[in-house]
């Protein structure tokens, strides 16, 4: 290529760079003539039983129940599998926001993916309603004006269940932790409560997400002599670890394996024989009251299993998002967020729900205990609520939040 051509092309490039005005002003009414909801979650991996296709089913149910239209415009649902990889999640979300007309993303199991997508949402001014991930960073140092953390978080889990285990005499802890954002946050939150209540953390070990063989980690935990082996992981990793602890006879030797995050689907896959007596915290249980039972039975008829808190939360989040769009008269994210924050959220899923300035949806949490096989009166009668913890006591107080959205 000769010099002259180079110069011409360089000029053209400079011209192209100089062109183009700033962004358009926010619109009233429904932008692009459609309200589009994206379900981005783990569809095939270690967490797919917790969320997966069930989350999509729940969101589609919410849209159908709402009537399929809002402010006279159609509501569409699209979905994708982030495969627990932050890069896939962020690429997909970016594409959805840039070219796919997506207004709100929900699901987002896996904290690494959730953090990535929430940031892109803030950059592109789109709402993210997280029902799956646990990291407290979502509403603290990484909080955004458009990010809502809907179902549970690691602080509440540690507060409701972790501290209960310490009170029952579990003073010495060893953690087996999933080595990414979620696991770190869960270990950190639980350690804080263990220490606050006079307990001790004697050690911890980290394993990669999706681990098939926990034996070497369990041996380390056993060698530490800790009373409680805290599993700061979830889904398939959690059930694998519990099964292998049983295989190596660890539980028979007086050590106790405790899950820091347990979903109903995990209890089901472990079976009551293995899981009985386990204490865990949950944001939802299908058999709580009539409303939750009715909805859950409807869900089961469509999906084949009772809902986890993630799946039930995705229905509730979608439904309330659509209500907020209707009330605001627009899908403009700022207006919808303002509406969502001012609403009282009370439905089959959440009791006394309220969205705070840091994006945390505060609602009642439950301390659960897995039933003994003899207590269970049906296939899905797997646990009982031993205590209801009001939202303002279960979640991190707003005064402690390091979120920049909170005015102090």
């Amino acid at each position: 290529m000769n010099r002259k051509m180079m110069k011409v092309l360089a000029g053209a490039t400079a011209l192209a760079l100089a062109a183009g005005p700033a962004l358009a002003a926010p619109t009233r009414g429904i932008s692009d003539g459609v309200v589009k909801i994206g379900v981005l979650t783990d569809m095939s991996g270690v967490y797919s039983a917790i969320g997966g296709k069930g989350t999509l089913v729940a969101v589609e149910m919410a849209v159908a129940d709402f009537g399929g239209k809002v402010l006279g415009k159609p509501i569409q649902v699209i979905s994708a599998d982030h495969q627990n990889k932050a890069d896939i999640a962020s690429t997909k979300a970016r594409e959805w926001f840039d070219t796919g007309k997506v207004d709100m993303v929900t699901g987002l199991l896996n904290s690494a993916c959730a953090l990535a997508v929430q940031k892109i949402g803030a950059e592109k001014r789109r709402i993210t309603m997280n029902t799956g991930a646990g990291s407290t960073d979502l509403t603290n140092k990484d909080c955004t004006p458009y990010g809502i953390h809907y179902v549970y978080d690691n602080y509440a889990l540690a507060n409701v269940a972790g501290s209960e285990i310490v009170r029952h005499g579990g003073k010495n802890w060893f953690f087996i932790t999933a080595d990414y954002a979620f696991g770190h946050s869960l270990e950190q939150n639980t350690s804080r409560f263990v220490k606050k209540l006079g307990g001790k953390v004697v050690g911890s070990v980290r394993h990669p997400l999706t681990t098939a063989d926990f034996s070497s980690y369990l041996m380390q935990a056993q060698g530490s002599g800790a009373k409680i082996i805290g599993l700061a992981n979830a889904g398939g990793d959690f059930t694998n670890a519990v099964k292998q602890a049983k295989e190596f006879g660890i539980t028979q030797k007086g050590q106790q394996v405790a899950g820091m995050l347990v979903f109903d689907s995990d209890v089901k896959s472990l079976g009551l024989n293995t899981a009985q007596g386990m204490l865990y915290a949950s944001g939802f249980y299908w058999d709580r009251d009539k409303a939750s039972r009715d909805w859950s039975k409807r869900f089961k008829a469509k999906y084949g299993a009772m809902p986890t808190m993630d799946q039930a939360g995705a229905y509730s989040a979608t439904m309330n998002y659509l209500k907020a769009v209707k009330a605001a008269g627009t899908d403009d994210p700022d207006a919808v967020m303002a509406k969502l924050r001012s609403m009282n959220i009370s439905d089959f899923f959440a009791v006394h729900g309220k969205i705070r300035a840091d994006g945390r949806m505060v609602h009642d949490m439950y301390l659960m205990e897995v039933k003994k096989p003899s207590e269970s009166r049906g296939e899905w009668d797997i646990a009982k609520i031993i205590r209801t913890v009001p939202g303002d006591q279960a979640f991190m107080p707003l005064s402690e939040s390091s979120c920049s959205q909170v005015r102090k």
Binding site: M1, L9, G20, K85, S90
Partner: protein, 313 residues
């Protein structure tokens, strides 16, 4: 090749963001450059590296970390990533060129695996979360790469696109220069007949090492640029699947042709994005493409085309 064809391609590159989603285009350019660097090694020096993801991913981490934490401007960030990949390439190369063929491939693979585990475990890489939220920053301290232009109802990140396009053109030009230089001729001579090159007095190992370092450094450029585009450096970039994929891109497009790797990279990336809803059938299709390429047309798309046109492309 005809200078007018280059000109048309260049003009297409300039106009493309107005027609196609720019982020996708930038991904094409990054992987295109990556495949070209790989081709320099396998197509012209006859060295199959099965660890090229280490340079691509490694540079992404270095650039991401420096831009995010030390406030480096993007062009310096990319430069730093390139440099680190080059140094890494020197280490890999020094160890691997002692062996040939399959052994060479296996050694590069193992070394890349070490880089992968460092990325997984080191405190500054963010483990499975990756390095997120990498700022795009101000080019030369003045041009905002994150700026979004509204053109015809679409919001386009044009500054970033033209930066990536410029980096790509520069990298591609360097590779073409290398191939057509006397140095490139010696590489080809080594590939064709190593003992003869030795007997002609060439210090074969030096030439191979040099080719390896150039290839690694430019692969780093591609990875570093990708980190700025997606604002993320992740384990996927350093995984051995990425090393395998770049082999496929090159093979599919045409080994030892200038345009082949680009065609291959564009095809594979498009395949991934078009079929993303088909789940892991994409993997099956890619595997199948691999098998078909190896069995039926080892010259690749561009190679076969060149044979038909009796021209070198």
């Amino acid at each position: 090749m005809n200078r007018y064809i280059w000109l048309i391609l260049f003009a297409l590159g300039l106009a493309a963001p107005f027609a196609v989603y720019p982020v996708f285009l930038m991904k094409l350019l990054c992987f295109g450059l990556f495949a070209c660097t790989f081709n320099l090694l396998l197509g012209y020096a006859g060295l199959l590296s099965f660890g090229h993801a280490a340079f691509f991913g490694g540079a992404a981490y270095v650039t991401g970390y420096l831009v995010k934490n030390s406030g480096l401007t993007p062009e310096l960030g990319v430069l730093a990533g390139t440099l680190c990949a080059g140094i890494l390439g020197f280490v890999f190369g020094s160890l691997a060129i002692r062996r040939q063929g399959i052994y060479f491939a296996m050694i590069t693979l193992a070394l890349a695996q070490i880089v992968y585990f460092v990325a997984l475990k080191a405190p500054f890489t963010g483990g499975e979360d990756g390095l997120q939220d990498i700022p795009r920053g101000m080019l030369f301290g003045v041009i905002d790469l994150g700026k979004v232009y509204a053109v015809g109802g679409k919001s386009l990140e044009l500054n970033l696109y033209y930066f990536v396009f410029a980096v790509f053109c520069l990298g591609f030009w360097l590779i073409c220069r290398t191939i057509n230089s006397p140095f490139g001729q010696v590489l080809k001579a080594i590939r064709e007949n190593e003992p003869r090159a030795v007997s002609l007095g060439y210090r074969v190992e030096r030439f191979k090492l040099m080719a390896f370092v150039i290839s690694a450094a430019l692969a780093g450029t591609a990875g570093a640029t990708k980190a700025l585009v997606f604002q993320l450096a992740s384990l996927t970039d350093a995984n051995w699947h990425t090393s395998g994929e770049v082999v496929l891109m090159t093979l599919l497009g045409g080994l030892g042709t200038i345009l082949g790797p680009l065609v291959g990279a564009f095809t594979v990336v498009t395949l991934h994005s078009e079929l993303s809803s088909a789940g892991s059938w994409v993997t099956v299709i890619i595997g199948f493409t691999f098998v078909v390429c190896v069995l039926l047309f080892r010259r690749g798309v561009v190679g076969e085309l060149a044979r038909l046109l009796k021209k070198s492309l």
